[in-house]
């Protein structure tokens, strides 16, 4: 097991080297001159040249690249010009915010989509099947920022049930001591239930926004794979043996139908993590997606490179985890190098 894990990890290395080279080159090819941007108003050619020199942009590309790789090897991701802080610090402080939001969104989505998908498959053609189709189609065709704004308008502006959409905590609460970076977990560790409640209430709307968006693939995949499994011989045998519906559907059918669902889940998770920029913008969520986009708009190289690198590492880890989960769910699939 460990040996196969090691082997898989080795294959990751060329991927990462590729990512490093490509992001470096891409950010250099992008139009826009950071020196001119950061020289600010009233810049003169001399002041732009001064800034270019202080950013090291006047040196040849290979030299800049060697510098960059050397810094990476020392764990230095460089500093963001737009936020003025080291990229590594920014990513470690922002990644948990995005991850917490995405995870909660995904859990909400699972809690709705999986039962819905199962019911739709079991009662194929019934009203619940149609409901599943409508919910899934609706969820995927509403753009996230629109759902987000709609939820804010209804639950904050009109009804006043949800708190103001101003990030992870309201302005007058303070963040719990950082352990995991997940406010829900950190506040529980600190036994600070007030903060737990505050951060949970901030989380609900954006998490639902993401959840609604990711409902569709999960519900459709659950339904499709349940249908296939329900039509198979072993289910017929189980029914013929007089097992009750519950045991047949949950214990036998669902477990076998889970593999494609888990695959979809992995894809949806990684997709959401990168793509929830819009939700982060709407809810002023200090996540990693909005950080990267802002950096990109300002030709701020270091954060973009750091973001792509962090994402690449995350995707690789996630894929590895999913491969391992396959083995747990289905003994027929074991890691075999």
């Amino acid at each position: 097991m460990l040996a196969t894990l090691g082997k898989r990890l080795v294959t990751v290395i060329p991927t990462l080297i590729g990512v490093i080279i490509v992001t470096f080159l891409l950010t250099r090819v992008l139009p826009g001159d950071p020196a001119v941007y950061f020289a600010g108003p009233a810049a003169t050619p001399e002041s732009i040249a001064e800034i270019r020199k202080s950013l090291g942009l006047d040196r040849p590309l290979p030299e800049q690249f060697a510098h960059y790789v050397n810094d990476l090897a020392h764990g230095n991701f460089g500093s963001s010009l737009s936020t003025g802080r080291p990229v590594a610090t920014e990513i470690t402080s922002r990644l948990p915010a995005s991850a917490e939001l995405t995870l909660v969104g995904l859990i909400l989505s699972l809690a709705i989509a999986v039962p819905l998908g199962i019911l739709a498959a079991v009662k194929q053609g019934s009203w619940i099947d149609h409901a599943c189709r409508i919910v899934a189609t609706g969820g995927v065709s509403l753009p996230v920022f629109f759902t987000g704004l709609l939820l804010v308008y209804a639950f904050y502006y009109l009804l006043g049930w949800a708190p103001a959409p101003i990030g992870r905590l309201d302005a007058f609460s303070s963040a719990p001591a950082q352990v995991t970076g997940f406010y829900l977990i950190d506040s529980l560790i600190a036994l600070d239930f007030e903060t737990f409640r505050a951060s949970l209430s901030q989380l609900i709307l954006p998490a639902f926004t993401l959840g609604i968006f990711s409902l569709a693939p999960i519900a459709r995949m659950t339904r499709a794979s349940m249908l296939a499994v329900l039509a198979s011989d072993f289910v017929r045998t189980a029914r013929a043996s007089g097992l009750n519906d519950r045991t047949v559907i949950i214990t036998y059918a669902f477990r076998n139908a889970m593999l494609p669902v888990v695959t979809t889940l992995g894809m949806v998770f990684s997709f959401l993590l990168g793509a929830n920029v819009l939700v982060e913008k709407v809810f002023a969520w200090p996540g990693i997606g909005s950080y990267a986009v802002e950096a990109l708009l300002q030709s701020d190289f270091a954060p973009v490179q750091g973001f792509v690198l962090a994402m690449a590492v995350l995707y690789v880890t996630l894929n590895l985890l999913i491969d391992i989960m396959y083995g747990v769910i289905d003994p027929r699939v074991r890691l075999e190098g």
Binding site: P31, A39, T44, A164
Partner: protein, 535 residues
């Protein structure tokens, strides 16, 4: 008083009295804390830093002191603005202007936030820093002929002198902008390294001044939290103990926060939100024209077709000015068109040109120019797309009527400055404003032969330079008539030859809750927390 009103006010009073007993700690905290929301937050707390953005100027303004600052005045509409022509001491106790120097005596009781006294050596170090670090601060100091460290002399611990390189009427105003802030030299020298002799890394994330506020927590892109410095001597102690400044990117949410009463101030509102909120009348809305600033259409005079003066004038007559003000700014802008004539009758600036929409006249001028059919592009900064895009579309539509076909070129915000620097865009919609509110300052950047980045038309003209230099010299020598003649001269010339066609002067819009007062408009277009009062 009607019975119903009485009941309302009585119950409101009862709540006001009873509630503090129940919620006193939280309420007291909220009452002394300001929650400010804006679209962007600072990227650097120090204006001397590399590439500090405009919100960063706000942090510098509130956390550091200058030797002198501007007095304030109430405008005819009741809003408060800085007074361009009146100076007040801030860190200095008094100021003596000599022939070729100005001498300041520092307030003896002034202390930095770490408790060390403010001395003339700190001021000298800070001024040296601003003229040596390069980039924006150095250029800004140059505008007031403040260029060399030798100009700054610490006479003794509490006396500081600035020697003039030459007479320049902008020297004093330039000492009251944000750049010549006074830094804690002793503290910063400890954080200086060989690579970073001015400790820019430290001040990027820490404030080291004597100002009324200090930043206690800063999460870039999320929030900046300030605490009051109770030992401040630069002016009257501010009422607000704490200021929380949150970044809320979505303008819809900023508006919702204001309407629900959760935020105290929303700064720099889009014109659309401003006009709508004003109608609803639930909030206090303040709006001031941006001094020395205008949106304009700029034409590259270096190459055809806009090197032809008649073509430029034709464009100036073809622009649908009123439609632009109505559609892009929702009617909320000061028009800079439709004046009596292109000849300036006084030195007011910005002022309307003599152009107005007149397609027939534009066609006539086009025919007289002999330019024929024109195919070109109209560019704008996508970072300002909210305003610039509708303007560009309206102009495109209108120019088609006089035989000028235009394709729209949207330039991403990050590239706008470098595109401007290239000076290759033939036709563009652009905004410029100068901190120092003097016409010659605007012309120095936008029309003079130095061909600065803001002179996007690349307009270079010897007679124009004589007029601009003449105005500078006359202002320095205090020759009022000569000054007025030169200003009128260059404004009229600029309007006749129209390398840039003024459209309108935009407003800076602010919404506050009804219990907030004391907001003042400043030339730097950021919020000064020191005068704001809550409750």
């Amino acid at each position: 008083m009607k019975r119903r009103d009485f009941l309302k006010s009585a119950s409101a009073a009862a709540v006001g009295v009873a509630a503090p007993a129940i919620f006193s700690p939280a309420r007291a905290q909220r009452a002394e804390t300001l929650l400010l929301v804006t679209e962007n937050g600072p990227n650097n707390l120090d204006i001397h830093g590399v590439g500090t953005n405009r919100p960063g100027y706000e942090a510098s303004w509130n956390c550091y002191d200058r030797l002198i600052t501007h007095a304030k005045k109430t405008l005819p509409d009741g809003s408060v603005s800085y007074d361009r022509d009146k100076f007040e001491p801030e860190l200095a106790e008094d100021m003596k202007v000599g022939d070729m120097s100005v001498t300041f005596r520092l307030k003896k009781s002034a202390k930095f936030q770490d408790g060390t006294p403010v001395t003339a050596n700190d001021v000298k170090w800070s001024f040296d820093r601003s003229v040596t670090v390069g980039g924006f601060p150095t250029v800004q100091m140059k505008a007031g002929s403040l260029e060399k460290p030798e100009q700054f002399v610490a006479v003794d611990d509490s006396t500081f002198r600035v020697d003039f390189l030459k007479k320049n009427s902008l020297t004093l105003p330039d000492l009251a902008v944000i750049v010549p802030s006074v830094y804690n030299a002793g503290l910063l020298k400890k954080h200086a390294t060989d690579k970073d002799p001015w400790a820019l890394e430290y001040t990027k994330t820490n404030t080291a001044g004597s100002g009324a506020y200090k930043v206690t927590s800063w999460k870039p892109g999320v929030e900046t939290v300030y605490e009051r410095n109770d030992a401040w001597v630069g002016g009257k102690l501010p009422q607000l103990k704490r200021v929380i400044w949150r970044t809320i990117p979505s303008s819809g949410n900023r508006r919702a926060l204001m309407e629900r009463g959760d935020a105290d101030i929303s700064f720099d509102l889009p014109a659309k939100d401003f006009t709508e909120l004003k109608k609803e009348a639930k909030l206090k809305l303040i709006s001031n024209p941006i001094g020395n600033g205008m949106y304009s259409v700029e034409l590259n005079v270096k190459s055809p077709p806009f090197n032809n003066e008649k073509v430029r004038q034709a464009v100036a007559y073809a622009i649908p000015y009123q439609k632009i003000v109505d559609a892009a700014m929702f009617g909320h802008a000061a028009p800079l068109f439709g004046g009596k004539s292109n000849d300036a009758s006084d030195i007011a600036w910005p002022r309307p040109t003599g152009y107005a929409t007149d397609i027939a006249k534009a066609k006539e001028l086009m025919a007289a120019s002999g330019a024929g059919e024109i195919d070109t592009t109209i560019s704008f900064d996508l970072g300002d797309g909210v305003n610039s895009e509708p303007i560009a579309i309206l102009i495109q539509e209108s120019l088609a009527q006089i035989g000028i076909k235009t394709a729209i070129n949207k330039v991403p915000g990050a590239n706008w400055r470098s595109e401007m620097a290239k000076k290759s865009m033939p036709l563009m919609v652009n905004f410029f404003s100068g901190w120092l509110d003097y016409p010659e300052y605007f012309f120095f950047w936008c029309y003079s032969g130095q061909n600065a980045i803001f002179n996007t038309p690349s307009y270079v003209d010897k007679d124009m330079d004589v007029l601009i230099d003449g105005a500078y010299a006359a202002a320095a020598a205090n020759e009022k008539d000569k000054y007025a003649a030169d200003v009128k001269g260059f404004v009229s010339k600029a309007f006749r030859e129209v390398p840039r066609i003024p459209l309108f002067q935009p407003y800076l819009n602010v919404a506050t809750q009804k219990n907030i007062s004391g907001y003042a408009y400043w030339f730097h277009r950021q919020v000064d927390y020191r005068s704001i009062v809550k409750g």
